[in-house]
Amino acid sequence: MIQFEHVGKRYGTSEVVSDLSLSIKAGEFCVLIGPSGSGKTTTLRMINRLIEHDSGRILFDGAEIRSFAPEALRRRMGYAIQSIGLFPHWTVEENIAAVPKLLGWSKAKIRDRVTELLGLVGLDATTYRGRYPQHLSGGQQQRVGVARALAAEPQVLLMDEPFGALDPVTRDALQAEMLRVHAASGTTIVLVTHDMDEAIRLGSRIVILDQGRIAQAGSPREILTRPASDFVADFIGRDEMGLRLLSIETVGERMRPGEEAAGEPIAASATLRHALSLLVSRAADRLPVTGADGAPAGVIHLADLTVGRP
């Protein structure tokens, strides 16, 4: 879907992105992460030409992005940012309708799409469509921001630290929404963050950037189990490595089916990290597990968390 070929970008004498090659496939949830100054935001903004690349090629749908008019290109890509940037003089509905309107959709189609999108991001359409952004909480505003970005069924959704300014509870809820939205829409998503937990939770692929170069790209599991360099190992946090590994696997993958145990059960879809937390806090060595239907499905033992680790 998006292809970077030896892309470079410099400001004066400093090279912000250098010789970056990366291929993002259709339907991927690609997370760009790195310390500040690593070029992750620049990389993202080069995709929709908010920043123009100096060298190399960036392909969208097989064609160099410079062959598109910038506005036309951006209308085919959704864009959500940390400061959200809802238009304060427009209602929620008008904000979400911004790109469809630019593309000349019919009024009825826009209206239906707004209703659908508000449902998708978990806001009640009748309550919220007529409100002005001032009257929404930060989390609600970002839900609308995501809905606006998705409005014209973009082929790619670009997100620049969209949840960075939200409180942890809201961020958690929105991350869950994003996973749902991604699963439901199948849109290719490129997201920039500096939060490793967010990257592990959301990304089907994580690209770690350092000083404008790719330090490592791979699935969360690959990154966590085989960090390519000391920098990557440091960046993902040597102390946290084990906990993060636990967070990419679910209880259901490791439980012992058919067994039974006493106590408050944990869902099979919960992460192993969650299971560990419960085990420690309850001073237990096993937990009963319930399946998606709520019926007992098995038991997870403390020892199961470490079996088969390198």
Binding site: Y79, I81, F87, P88, A98, V99, L102, L158
Partner: protein, 258 residues
């Protein structure tokens, strides 16, 4: 029956409590009803042979005054918005400090001075008044348009660009609407100053509501002065309130939830 009368009466009183409507009624009353007040002025100023300014009707003077202010403000508005937009674009950025200097220094010039300097350049009459008012009125409008456009949050600009709005679309649908309330405050200042300066412009030969005042001052006819002052004062207060009302409509989105 009496119930509906009461409701009607209450609505009437409610309307009078609205300062905009009240000031409008006072203005209309003064403009149209001044001849009716002749006995009042005669009683107040028993020493005067002619207690009412009758060289011209107050309606004509008011129309001339409003046309002068309206025309000059329209010129200021067009140029001010263009200038404000220009210096906030990429191409005009270099000119912004200079425009800001001119605007700030220009506003320290007394309006009378601008008016007086226009005369040697353009002669007496409505033309120098129109030009002087337009130039002077330009300053607060340009200043406010720049401030209004600057007040658009960075995130909003970035989002507008990111979702693929064209430069024109961003200006027309995002920047200018968001700048409008601030810009309107500048227009309000400009128009109010110009209403006053237009009154003084009758000293350079423009026909405005200042005429009865000037004629009265030079002829020691205090009644003329009072009549002119009342009408021009009412006009200024009414206009100011009208702008305030308009401003509240423009940034409705700051308050309304529906």
């Amino acid at each position: 029956m009496s119930g509906t009368m009461n409701a009607g009466a209450r609505r009437g009183i409610g309307l009078l409590a609205d300062p905009l409507i009240l000031s409008g009624l006072v203005l209309a009353g003064l403009v149209f009803g001044m001849p009716l007040l002749k006995p009042v002025f005669a009683a107040l100023f028993p020493g005067l042979d002619r207690p009412l300014y009758e060289q011209d009707s107050f309606l004509n003077l008011t129309i001339a005054h409003v046309v002068l202010v309206g025309a000059s403000s329209a010129i200021s508005l067009v140029i001010g918005v263009l200038a404000g937009v220009f210096v906030t674009r990429r191409a005009g950025r270099e000119f912004r400090p200079l425009v800001e200097t001119i605007v700030a220094t220009g506003q320290t010039f007394p309006p009378v001075a601008v008016l007086a300097v226009a005369v040697p350049l353009l002669g007496f009459g409505a033309a120098p008044a129109l030009i002087a008012l337009a130039i002077y009125g330009l300053l607060p409008i340009t200043e406010a348009v720049v401030a209004g456009i600057e007040s658009v949050p960075v995130g909003v600009r970035e989002a507008a660009r990111g979702i693929g709005m064209s430069a024109r679309g961003r200006l027309l649908h995002v920047e200018l609407p968001l700048a409008a309330p601030v810009a309107l405050a500048g227009v309000r200042t400009s128009v109010i100053i110009n209403i006053g300066t237009a009154a003084i412009a009758s000293t350079v030969g423009a026909k405005t509501l200042g005429l009865p005042i000037i004629v009265g001052l030079s002829g020691f006819n205090t009644a003329y002065v009072l009549q002119g002052a009342l009408v021009v004062g009412a006009l200024a207060v009414f206009t100011d309130l009208a702008f305030e009302r308009l401003g509240r409509r423009l940034d409705r989105w700051k308050r309304d939830s529906a």
